[in-house]
Assembly symmetry: C2
Homo-oligomer: 492 residues x 2
């Protein structure tokens, strides 16, 4: 049989790791906290990249590339940024190795010490704004809308594959604008690009909202976020978009001459999503049999398994499968025929279930004779025998239906696990049981911190959609007046 | 007028730098030797990536991602590899910064020293073969055909934008095979993928050949290369593909059980091209007006410049241009309308020439009246007034013709600058004048080194195509017997 997967009910955390490793998505590397993304996992990431990149470009964004290294001194320039980022990071101090004089391999050449240490980028605001300084003179140079796909490093002490790794892959957009309003609009536009992607492609019902000041990006005036609920009821921050005001422009002295001929500091945004999205995908939709991939993000949408005894049967079934494959590919679907002759069909079924392929075709000699195929859905684990005639159109509809069903299931799960809560004792009792609690908050950092200290829960966001939260009430903890509810949850 | 470009005849090296910087391809960053790739330059690189990635995938290669960092000890494992690579590189020694106790920004936290230093990958054979060890048990696990698109760092002392930078972007393919023959065939297949790309997409007539032992990749049994001639007659190595034998498998103890049930070491290849290709593109085709981009790699294939006096004319011309743009885009061409109202047409013409856009449309009121458009070719700098009727089909043909013409020009230039040479005095006189010299070589490293010491010329390759080199003769330097000619040149 296929590889065993721990049941979610037994050990949710182990179930997650099993899926990542056994579905061949990623694994730990020889370097602490750094992962190897395996071909199947990377193929999903590539699909995400392609869809997001197209969406970014539609908004006028262009890709560029900025250095991996950032001079240490850059981090000191933006005071809040240094507090938030400059601590746990990879520091390059030397630029040469040499043969060990004692003959034991290679050692660092002490004479090759850098004058100023370089930091492997944990995020690129500083180096990018130092660059933008040379690109911007006049309002005519604005806006600048750049994005880069790259690797970043944050020296996390506790790592989990995809969710929190020392090195991860992401995109970071950095835009420069002539007015605050334009920058705020861009930050808002991009969080909606992320939300559309999460909802329509990843089948992930996310909440768009503002972060509370405690949870804001280091150096931001406002952070917008998309928050998703995982199957254990915990929240996962799936993407953020920041309005940075003039903070980085001031730190790196980036000014422009406006239309009135006056010098002004430039307004900024930054926004990013990372390979963390892979974690969200796994934990939102997977089941005890493995991954469940929404068709829009699945590297293989339809897998075909031939069932035969004789070579003659084998050849006839394969011929039919290649014909079907060609027709489905012509419709834009990605298809794989699993013709490995050393494995039994049952093993293959389990493996493709583990890997989350949305639709499985099985075809035996009788199917061939009858002009039928057995079609199994990964999301519902149901099977149906369908006539081959017109199957291409049916599969198109089926994939759409699977996409919608996966979204709806996640949406319903969240709906069942979001509650209004107005009582502190009830809050304490429920917050650890896998709920998002919609509570009144007095708007102070002190209250937020006190709630976090008492329960580990944080304000995931102040929603701008998904829930009607505007109403008068009293803070769940302090009892002070509040004008709207916010989302509290335990988070990844 | 547009930005001034140094003439090639005045200062070739400055001309190159002018093109890179003034055509907005790339610039130096605040970090020594690391470049910023600007949106226009990155758009060309993205086109290269897309075409190459599709070509790799057609050969069965899948993308994956391996860690940025490599433990220092890995470099000691493959003796030749350490000699070739482990010297000039970025060394991470610490993982934390802290606030300076004296209040001067941040400093490295001395208590956060890594037990083992990490090297920022200069190439990934070691970390990948350490990973493959866990992926390979049986012949059934082979072949493994992985590629990664990533950044690498080699601490070069003298850097030039695109040609030699401390950090650069590349792809590195790493394959694992059950037999030497299969691995050799893969290395050969990939160098041909590169050559096809160079010739058909970049319009670069490259020579495929083997590297001499002196010029081989550190750890390879055989290195295949594609070598291009730049306009100064120097050679540029544009891509390499290595047959690594069992060297890395032995260093990292990667064995498999073959079909006969015996343990064997795995056979390997690796192959890569980098952002250096950008340098080749610029230097092979550019002229004194700027870049000349082959249509197959141009981010913008057709730029349209409206010429008008009144708003009415402006609107009527723009309407027509948007219609043309739509029709051309439907044919798969990329089109930009340059409607900036603060710049004169002459300025725009010069700017798009500098940026190498293959075709320029200019349209004024009289054109509109006559149903014509002025079409300028970047490669030949010729102009022609064409009827709008049926223009879409003509442009398709024109772009094809430009692609071929650019290739042919580079091909003819090379043909004029490749010579057979059988006399050492003549060799010394000619090798520095921008020639590739086809000479007999006795096959020894000593002779190659002596020639290099005397003239700076190296064996660029032992050609397998492009020239008929098989013939008996005597080594140009030693006079010893030789069975074929090889390509000598001064190289980048």
């Amino acid at each position: 049989m296929a590889k065993e997967v721990t049941k979610r009910s037994e050990n949710y955390s182990q179930w997650y790791n099993d899926l990542v490793v056994k579905a061949d998505l990623a694994e730990q590397s020889a370097v602490r906290g750094c992962m190897v993304i395996k071909p199947y996992g990377y193929a999903i990431w590539e699909k995400m990249q392609r869809v997001l990149d197209d969406a970014f470009k539609k908004t006028g964004v262009q890709n560029a590339y900025f250095p991996l290294f950032i001079p240490k001194s850059f981090f000191s320039r933006e005071a809040e940024h240094v507090a938030g980022f400059a601590k746990e990071c990879a520091v390059v101090t030397h630029h040469r190795l040499m043969n060990d004089p004692n003959g034991n391999g290679v050692v660092v050449d002490p004479s090759a010490k850098l004058e100023e240490e370089l930091i492997v980028r944990p995020t690129s605001e500083t180096i990018i704004w130092n660059t933008y300084k040379n690109w911007i003179t006049s309002w005519r140079d604005l806006p600048i809308l750049c994005n880069q796909w790259c690797n970043v490093v944050r020296w996390e002490m506790r790592t989990r594959l995809f969710l929190r790794t020392a090195e991860f892959l992401w995109q970071e957009g950095h835009t420069a604008h002539a007015t605050a309003a334009e920058a705020e609009a861009k930050a808002n536009e991009m969080v909606h690009v992320y939300a559309d992607f999460a909802r329509n492609v990843m089948a992930l019902p996310v909440i768009i909202g503002h972060k509370s000041p405690n949870e804001r990006f280091a150096g931001a005036i406002d952070t917008l976020t998309i928050e998703a609920m995982m199957q254990d009821g915990k929240a996962l921050q799936a993407g953020t978009s920041h309005f940075l005001g003039q903070n980085f422009a001031k730190s790196f002295d980036v000014t422009f001459t406006n239309k009135e001929g006056q010098q002004e500091y430039v307004w900024a945004t930054s926004w990013g999503v990372s390979t963390r999205l892979m974690g969200a995908l796994i934990m939102a939709h997977g089941d005890d049999n493995g991954l469940v991939l929404p068709p829009a993000i699945a590297p293989i949408q339809v897998v075909m398994v031939p069932i035969y005894k004789t070579d003659e049967e084998h050849n006839a079934i394969l011929d039919k499968m290649y014909e079907l494959k060609k027709n489905l590919e012509a419709k834009g679907h990605s298809v794989k025929i699993d013709d490995r002759d050393t494995l039994r069909p049952g093993f293959k079924f389990a493996e493709w279930e583990l890997k989350g392929v949305p639709v499985r075709f099985a075809m035996g000699p009788r199917d061939l004779q009858n002009g039928t195929v057995e079609v199994a859905r990964r999301d519902t684990l149901t099977k149906e025998t369908m006539p081959l005639e017109g199957i291409e159109n049916k599969i198109e509809g089926l994939l759409d239906d699977i996409q919608k069903t996966i979204y709806q299931k996640a949406f319903d799960f969240r709906a069942q696990n979001v509650e209004k809560c107005d009582d502190w004792e009830e809050f304490k009792a429920k917050i650890g049981t896998g709920k998002f609690l919609l509570c009144h908050w007095d708007g102070t950092a002190e209250t937020e911190q006190a709630i976090k200290d008492a329960t580990k829960a944080t304000i995931r966001c102040i929603p701008v959609d998904s829930f009607v939260c505007e109403e008068e009430g009293k803070d769940i903890f302090s009892g002070k007046p509040s004008h709207k509810r916010v989302v509290f949850a335990i988070s990844y």
